[in-house]
Symmetry: C2
Subunit: 639 residues, 2 copies
């Protein structure tokens, strides 16, 4: 209340309304160690209703975490305070994931709970034996992703997942009944969940509900009936407490109602000590756990996996050498599966999956069993037709640690998962998206299924590395880079159609000269993925007319842009268009390609929706054939 007041911005309603529930949780149930926020076997606590961020900042501070300090809290929502408007895992240890975009915290918790059960099965109870607790509001439950997330959790019987629903009956517009008539407990029960209720302001009632949730084998929804903004005598129970400071008068009235006599940001010593004792009590199991770890046969492997390190000596180099020795003309989605065969054999931490497109995404490799309620060692998740839920679950797995998730869908449905893809990137989560059918090249399914703007629009998500490899070799390189990357997600855009093997390697730099001009160089052809083959054919036509042309393969823009200037200037010489014409070829929007072609260059692509027809007809219809492109380049050159 005081922090929101000082910021004159924020959400006091949820922290005040859920303070009683959170107190019971952090006092008597949650397992954590303020002195070691990253203790591997801690319970995960996810504040899915992230706008109530002051709740977790207060709890971390009171229970003895090094940060936030009281100074941090007094600077809530100020520049460089770790107490941001919404909780950010990259700002504050103890914040398990970044929340605020509604519904996603709970959905990430599903992934955390899955990772816990998997690691428990791979190692054992002595090392991995914790729960995932979530605080969620009506927004989290109303969002579509909630359906996907609880569907996955219910099906997989993730009984270690407990969701505390802040049932305060209020949304921003007013009462929940303005927009919803749903029987939420019945819906959860229909989806395989255990549901229990409590009075969210009665510690005994709360504890009884928690006990019931822990005892049940299904994931649990604990309905906590609460009063939003409880303690603010004139505003509690209304949306007025949700997203704005209470105001000096109401804060004063709340102080009186609550009997709180301390100044803002002052915690009386006895209360502070009681909270610190709470933190120490929660950490009590840590010592025994450390002993068990020290004597555990799999200690090194467990620590490696939790650190996110790859096994010593892991490399795809010999696999790539094999490709170079025996070139293959296959779809990059199949090339991806081949690379995954090597990766999954070498990296026991991978957990794959697909949103019900396994045979199309080629995400399943030999020897991988399904992760199910009955088989926790399985490493393949049947996510169902739940792209967004899959992506969010993968974020949760990556943030839990110990596993390396990848999952597939069609690239056009990256739109469905986009809010979670953004959160992968914002949270520095190592997730690999396997997105196949990456252009009009998928053919007959038509414009609803043909990505046009997707590759480019994904390139502009900060900290997401997008790869669009042209063949088996570049696909393997992209995979190698993606699994090695510890601080963020990668997305592979892969073809449905077969592509010749053209590359001898070089993708790791993002862009490189695949073929050099033989005749005097007049043109640089820049292409990605399936259009590199076309660029090579265009080059041949130009060279046949005495016009020298380089072919540059550019599978990852962000990697290329990060290269030294000398390298970039060698690949794309900074010459005037009349000296060197730059031409891009990509079966997607031309929007943005000016960066490499210059405005005076040429851009071949598709700035409209696709069409339903066999692949060759579609490419021809949109002018993406070597003959049509060559003719236009020749016309431009006056040749």
């Amino acid at each position: 209340m005081d922090a929101v007041e000082a910021a004159n911005s924020g959400h006091p309603g949820m922290p005040m309304g859920m303070a009683d529930v959170a107190t019971v949780l952090f006092s008597d149930y949650l397992k954590y160690d303020p002195a070691d926020p990253k203790w591997a076997d801690r319970d995960r606590f996810v504040l899915s209703a992230g706008h109530g961020s002051m709740l977790i900042y207060a709890l971390l501070h009171l229970t003895g975490y090094a940060r936030p300090t009281i100074e941090d809290i007094s600077r809530f929502r100020k520049l460089h305070s770790p107490c941001a408007g919404h909780p950010e895992n990259f700002e504050l240890p103890g914040v398990e994931c970044t929340t605020g975009p509604l519904g996603q915290g709970l959905a990430m918790a599903v992934g955390m709970a899955a990772a816990e059960r998997h690691l428990n099965a791979v190692f054992d109870d002595s090392l991995v034996d914790h729960r995932t607790w979530v605080v969620a509001g009506d927004g989290c439950l109303m969002e579509g992703i909630n359906h996907e997330a609880i569907g996955i959790a219910g099906h997989l019987k993730l009984g270690r997942l407990i969701v505390l629903w802040d049932d305060n009956n209020i949304t921003i517009d007013g009462k929940v009944s303005l927009s919803s008539s749903e029987d939420i407990p019945a819906r959860y029960a229909a989806t395989g969940w255990h549901v229990v209720s409590c009075d969210g302001h009665d510690p005994a009632s709360i504890a009884k509900a928690f006990d019931a949730a822990i005892a049940d084998e299904r994931p649990s929804l604990v309905r906590c009936t609460t009063i939003i903004g409880k303690g603010a005598p004139n505003k509690q129970g209304t949306s007025a407490t949700h997203g704005a400071a209470l105001g000096a008068a109401e804060v004063a009235a709340a102080r009186e109602t609550l009997g709180w006599t301390s100044e803002p940001f002052v915690v009386p010593d006895d209360i502070r000590e009681a909270w610190l004792e709470t933190g120490r009590r929660a950490a009590a199991p840590h010592a025994g756990w450390k002993q068990r770890l020290a004597g555990h046969a799999d200690r090194a492997e467990f620590q490696r996996r939790m650190a996110g390190d790859l096994p010593a000596g892991f490399s795809l180099d010999s696999y790539i050498e094999g490709l170079l020795a025996d070139p293959k003309k296959i779809a990059t989605r199949v090339a991806s599966q081949m690379a995954l065969d090597a990766i999954n054999a070498a990296l026991p931490e991978t957990i794959g999956g697909s949103a019900d497109l396994t045979p199309s995404n080629n995400t399943l490799t030999k020897g991988l069993d399904d992760f199910t309620a009955d088989n926790r060692t399985g490493r393949y998740i049947r996510y169902g037709i739940r792209e967004f839920g899959m992506a969010a679950a993968m974020n949760g797995m990556a943030l839990h640690g110990g596993v390396l998730p990848y999952g597939g869908t069609f690239l056009v449905f990256s739109d469905y998962a986009r809010p979670a893809i953004r959160l992968s990137a914002l949270q520095n989560a190592r997730v690999v998206y396997v997105m196949t059918h990456d252009s009009i090249g998928l053919g007959e399914d038509g414009p609803t299924h043909q990505p046009v703007e997707h590759v480019m629009s994904l390139r502009m998500i900060p900290n997401l590395e997008l790869w669009r490899p042209c063949d088996t070799v570049e696909t393997a390189e992209a995979w190698a880079q993606s699994v090695a990357r510890k601080d963020g997600p990668s997305l592979l855009a892969l073809s449905r159609q077969n592509l010749p093997q053209l590359s001898s390697g070089g993708a790791a730099r993002g862009g490189y000269r695949l073929q050099a001009a033989e005749a005097p160089r007049k043109v640089v052809l820049i292409a990605t993925g399936s259009e590199v083959e076309i660029a090579v054919a265009v080059r041949a036509e130009l060279e046949a007319k005495g016009i020298g042309a380089d072919v540059v393969s550019m599978p990852c823009w962000s990697r290329f842009d990060a290269q030294p200037a000398e390298y970039r200037d060698d690949v794309l010489p900074p010459l005037k268009p009349e000296e060197l014409l730059r031409v891009s070829i990509e079966a997607g929007t031309t929007f943005g390609w000016e960066r490499y072609t210059m405005v005076d260059g040429m851009r071949f692509g598709i700035d409209r929706y696709g069409a339903s027809a066999p692949i060759n007809d579609v490419y021809d219809y949109f002018g993406l054939t070597a003959d049509k492109i060559s003719a236009q380049i020749l016309a431009k050159l006056g040749a």
Copy 2:
């Protein structure tokens, strides 16, 4: 089966499995007129499981629609055939909306059913009295948007909506039980739906279920137990029939099983005549309806609205003149509300709403009541925390006709709605998205809520017009253009913060010179939205140093790009950088601005995630202040 075989691509399983259900529907329940596919009071039929497109092509052909012809069907999935891989409303009358992206057909049907009840209340039973029927598969039900869509429909008691669930127990990966344990009927019941079951291969059972659905006041889910690919003796009941041609041997076996002796694409005369009679019977009510319309007092208004024409003489010009006479410094989200005040008073067809951000989006205007189960004349929908469901429902309303939907959320959550925004554009649906809090300018809520890549990534969706107005005047112009646009969606990106009134008009051309250089022109500053104010301040600093600078406001790129070259060359003179430096200022990604600045120009923006802090601190932190920008421009000019 034969069409998929000829295409060697497509989905025979659903059309064969749901043929019995569809036959009962089109024979004895659905109201339609093959001779007039756009008859206003027809029932709407939505094939939400759009991959089963051959089902609707067959039905339209057999019942007597002009298209598809048998020739069209024989060219299923070929270039220029209206029988595309997935049903496309812009290709074929009788296809109400474009489906294939799973879950969205059903969600659009919710909007259609809402529009029907609203128009029924505004006009009467004699003109508007129809149902919306949906065929949905397990994919449509598993997607997150299903939860949002049925939540809206259940809450609004849209009893005219009937969903036929093709319960065939098969998805692409295999049996539904691989990925779901959900009790779907119980979930629907929990969400306010009526549920009834039938044997999807028994006409009497189907009819009985339809009768029960019609009789109930709630929206209905009809669980149709079916066998996927029914009639293909060796493959039916398996995922092998889902998404691939059956193959010559299995087609021959199916012919034998079904007793079908005709060649492919040959329909025996007696069967053809029976189907044509079915079509005529379905159209029987049309004659009486025409008579009622002819004598109806509101005929002209009804026809105007169904045609999508605005009222004669509608204009915002006088409103804009008022703004010019009395300039205001307000947020563009508030300017939007002012424009909406004028629009909603003049256009009775608007139906507004927000995904639970009414006080933030400023989407509610005086005199608008909520559209509820009890008040069908209301013109404001409380969508709840359901951005995607809102967007899809708006698509359905727009495609139904007679209403003009707009709806709001935060711009960063355009990601949640993005799959439906794309479908608005693909389907040429007049939907207006009101997206506020459009940059880091929202301040304290921080990076989870601060759009960075969103404006640019929306610009590249074909046929979406994105507006980022700089003040009250441009906001009004953007609204005027958006409601006047009949063939596609518009999206308004609006500020949270106050902005000075700078414009005297000109936004309709997409970009225009807001201020001309006074000193000899060396610089063109190009900005949008809240950064136009900064560009004006930068210009003042440059002019003070004797460096002439134009300010170009560029609220709508696609409009600007569509102007004649002479106009564009006047606004952005095609001079070399050393003669005229082009500079962009936009509080979002700089990705793509090379189009206007040239690679050698300067781009000020944000290519990373935002930060939680008060607005002025955030702008300063990211270098977006007039002083910091001016200094860099001066340095570049060597001035």
